[in-house]
């Protein structure tokens, strides 16, 4: 395993207006290159806030973040060139076709001409969307939209890929295609930061896990390290419930 740091987070804190309690509370962690890093937690734990900060969409209230060797505070434009983001929402233009959507997002990421065309062709084919590529995405099924949403984030071969709940609401077939391809992308050297509510999926996919609750990282490590730490050989879900509790979250 590569020990070079892809993401270094030091004492990261983030407050929202009107809330005395921080959404991210003094978090420090490192994500090493080549890993699939799973950030897990119940609703409102701070996963999406964390991802939005790392992508430059939210400014931290305190702390330092270095991504790919660049400071988030001072070198955001450089960071934007090496990251890819797949948000929880279907961030596509519904009146544009799949190819047009990808052409726009790929073009904004600096791809053009034959390279752009070849990559669009490749990924549409990999995710089984080549036949519907000229259809407006508003008419796509949920699974097709999810797959296209994923392609839009990885078209430019980012060094670090952020995935926020990439398999929400998709059928088993689409989920398998997405997971298999994420593993393949990771094998080519892309570091993946992944959040999900599907713990079994995370257990199979991620090489390193961190569980966040109420803005704090409450445990982290490989699945085995977490098991040892919590003196348990059960499933991730049981450990998760043990450390986050069974109370309903908002």
């Amino acid at each position: 395993m590569n020990n070079k740091t892809a993401i270094h987070i030091q004492n990261l804190t983030r407050y929202y207006r009107g809330n005395a309690k921080p959404a991210i509370d003094n978090v420090s962690l490192d994500v090493y290159e080549g890993r699939i890093f799973g950030l897990l937690g119940p609703n409102g734990a701070g996963k999406t806030t964390m991802i939005r900060i790392l992508c430059g969409l939210l400014t931290p209230s305190a702390g330092e973040v270095v991504i790919g060797g660049y400071s988030l505070r001072h070198e955001l434009p450089r960071i934007k060139r090496i990251i890819g983001v797949v948000p929880q929402e279907i961030a596509l233009y519904p009146t544009l076709t799949a190819r047009e959507n990808l052409s726009v997002y790929g073009g904004v990421c600096g791809l053009q001409g034959k390279e752009l065309k070849d990559r669009i062709d490749k990924w549409l084919s990999v995710f089984g969307l080549e036949k519907s590529q000229h259809q407006q995405t508003g008419r796509y099924s949920g699974g097709m939209k999810r797959r296209l949403n994923l392609i839009a984030g990885l078209l430019h071969n980012p060094k670090i890929l952020f995935l926020d709940e990439p398999t929400v609401g998709v059928d088993v077939q689409s989920k398998i295609v997405i997971i298999e391809n994420l593993m393949e992308i990771n094998r080519t050297g892309t570091t993946i930061v992944y959040t999900s509510h599907y713990l079994e999926e995370a257990e199979n996919l991620c090489s390193y896990l961190a569980i966040i609750d109420e803005g704090k990282i409450i445990t982290q490590g490989t699945l085995n390290e977490i098991r040892i730490l919590h003196n348990s050989d059960s499933k991730l879900e049981d450990i998760f419930l043990e450390i986050t509790g069974k109370d309903l979250r908002d």
């Binding site: 969409l57 961030a91 904004v108 984030g153």
Partner: protein
Amino acid sequence: MQVICKLVYKDFLVIIRDRGGLAMLFLMPMALVLIMTSLQDNTFKALNESGIRLLLQNNDTDSLGSAIEQEILHSNFFSVYRDINGNKPTEQEIKDAVASGKYQIGIIIPAGATQLIREQVKQNVTRLFSGDTTISPGINDSVVVMLYVDPATKNSLRSTLQGSIREYSARVESRIVLNELSREINSRMMVSLPNLNQIRQEMVFYREEYVARGNKTVVPNSVQHNVPAWTLFAMFFIVIPFASAMIKEREEGSLSRLLTMPCSYTGIMVSKIVVYLVVCFVQFILIMLMGLYLFPIFGLPALVINGRIVSLSVMALTAALAAIGYGISVGTIARTHQQAAIFASISVVILAAVGGIWVPVFVMPPFLREISVASPLNWGLNGFYDILVRNARLADVMHYGIWMILFSIGCLLIALYYHKSRNEYN
């Protein structure tokens, strides 16, 4: 540059794929300009082409009655009626007819009015020549022309009518005075003088001309006034679809995704400015073409642009920039479609009202006149009027264009500040 091109391509596709939105962007403004101009043109015609019903009872068969009657008949302001259902009305019937709104004006010229004036004058002249200088006819001896007016009739029309009647009464009076003077002088002197009315002539004449720069005369009409006003209004209404498109992009997550890519909020806004500038300009060209070629088909006067298409285009582009800048700030600050739609529509209507789109600024109360200079629609309207009816050149109106550009930049800066602070604190 490639990023901006891709974003422009995207915004262009988003607009042309929305058929309903396209109709709203192009057909609605054209319909608005056509309807408002037709409406105003008909009002204009109603005042000019015998639209006002006037009930006239001329009981004086002499000079005064016929002078007033001729004046009214030749004024072209009125449809003149002398009876109600074939019967000569009484004074009360005339009052009732005007009060009911069937006629806007009723005039009663009393019987023997001219004779009464003649006798008064004769008496006064005789007294004057006898050395008695106390000439003051009592109220009871005065001639009273009754004017009944429907309260719905404009004050300006009533004043015009009163003025005309006064003028013609004065003329008849002066003619009678001169006649009597001639008669009295002839009877007292040995030589016979010609009638003094022969030396009476109009000494002062009025000539009216619409003046414009460069010795050109542009005759204003409803089209010259309404086309620029409603074109501007329609252009500013683009704020609503523009702000909605921004909020939709934000809610769908596409804006956030773009912001994680190598492009800035400013870049995203620049692409929207480019696309919507084209939309506004096409809107403007379509409305101008409609004014030039379609209006005459609908019986309206054709728009006269006097070869000032470049100046008009520059004004249109700067007005479009102001509208888009305003749209960006509304789209950035509003959190929901409802907020954006309600705020944008009401604020544009207020800016238009204050800016003089509906009523001219000079008839507004003083405090509104002061405020009107702060409305970008007022700047645009003044620029268009200067070009279309005052024959101004581009250099003469460029200050209005610069104000609109500065307004647009101001709105953009507000939007950028708000966007930044939202990312930092919200």
